[in-house]
């Protein structure tokens, strides 16, 4: 695969990806921001009537079972999957090459596999105030009962489309278009200033 460079790392580096503590951190760090840089980010879509086979294929390749319901998903810390639209799923792996693994499983009769690894940037927000900061960005319910661990949501911040997966009780992974990642990251940093944040 072509070597990738994070859009957050383009010069001037110090402006965007400043590791360390920022904002009002003297009272504690309530949010940790990082770029997770997964090797594979895929979108899988089933033709109408083929959803069951696609879900079975995801389980075969990733070992992850999709729980009940629209927008449901799961993660094992290395691989993640969630539904983001009817019959459509985002599948993420720390390692590269997940698209090839699906090639013989999701046949053209079942659906499509689209490799977005170079087109999306994955940003993680974690900590006790992660819900609070995200609630300022997105008009959806981030409370744990409404947005359980593993589940995914498609929404947007102004016109920046975002897919959000809850990967922990106080941790969310946000997938944004690579071209918007820098400005989104900057906005997220600004929004995190009031609670004190650390960039890792």
């Amino acid at each position: 695969m072509v070597e990738r460079q994070s859009p957050l790392e383009l010069a001037p580096l110090e402006l965007e990806l400043r590791t360390g503590s920022h904002g009002d951190f003297e009272h504690g760090i309530d949010v940790i921001l990082s770029e997770t840089r997964p090797g594979s980010i895929l979108q899988l879509a089933a033709w109408p009537g083929q959803e069951k086979k696609l879900i079975a294929g995801i389980r075969t390749v990733t070992g992850l079972a999709l729980p009940d319901g629209a927008g449901a998903g799961s993660t094992d810390g290395v691989r993640s999957v969630f539904g983001f639209a009817p019959g459509k799923f985002t599948v993420v792996d720390e390692a590269e090459g997940l698209g090839l693994a699906f090639a013989n499983v999701v046949t053209p009769a079942i659906g499509t596999v689209t490799d977005l690894s170079h087109g999306r940037t994955a940003i993680r927000i974690a900590g006790p105030k992660a819900e609070w900061v995200l609630a300022k960005f997105f008009a959806i319910d981030f409370a744990l009962p409404a947005f359980p661990v593993g589940a995914g949501r498609s929404t947007m911040h102004h016109d920046v489309f975002a897919q959000i997966q809850r990967t922990g009780a106080d941790q969310f992974d946000i997938y944004v278009f690579r071209s918007f990642a820098r400005s989104f990251w900057k906005a997220l940093c600004h929004a995190s200033e009031e609670v004190g944040y650390e960039v890792q």
């Binding site: 069951k52 079975a56 729980p67 009817p86 929404t155």
Partner: protein, 98 residues
């Protein structure tokens, strides 16, 4: 104004794109029935009350939706997948239970 997407749940109207009057009947592409084409392009009911509309959840799951909206109150009384009885979410649900 909130629209409750059958897949995503209640979302702000800013996430949706209006795609026009849901009562329109598009003639077959090869049709030479000028009255039918005229009606499709120009004739609108313009009701003061419940109105059939097509919306796309463009800032979410991107599904096309059949919505009934009251043009006086903005009350949304019905939302469904425009594709018809879309089984995708349901199948997904059934699969999860197995």
């Amino acid at each position: 104004m909130l629209i409750t997407c059958p897949y995503c749940g209640p979302r702000d109207v800013i996430e949706f794109t209006y795609q026009g009057d849901g009562n329109r009947q598009r003639p077959q592409p090869a049709s030479q029935d000028l009255d039918a084409w005229n009606a499709y392009v120009y004739d609108r009911l313009n009701p003061a009350g419940d109105h059939n509309e097509i919306w796309q959840h463009s800032g979410g799951c991107r599904a096309h939706l059949k919505v009934v909206r009251n043009t006086l109150t903005h009350e949304i009384s019905s939302v469904a997948f425009a594709r018809g009885d879309h089984k995708a979410a349901m199948r997904h649900k059934a699969e999860g239970k197995s």
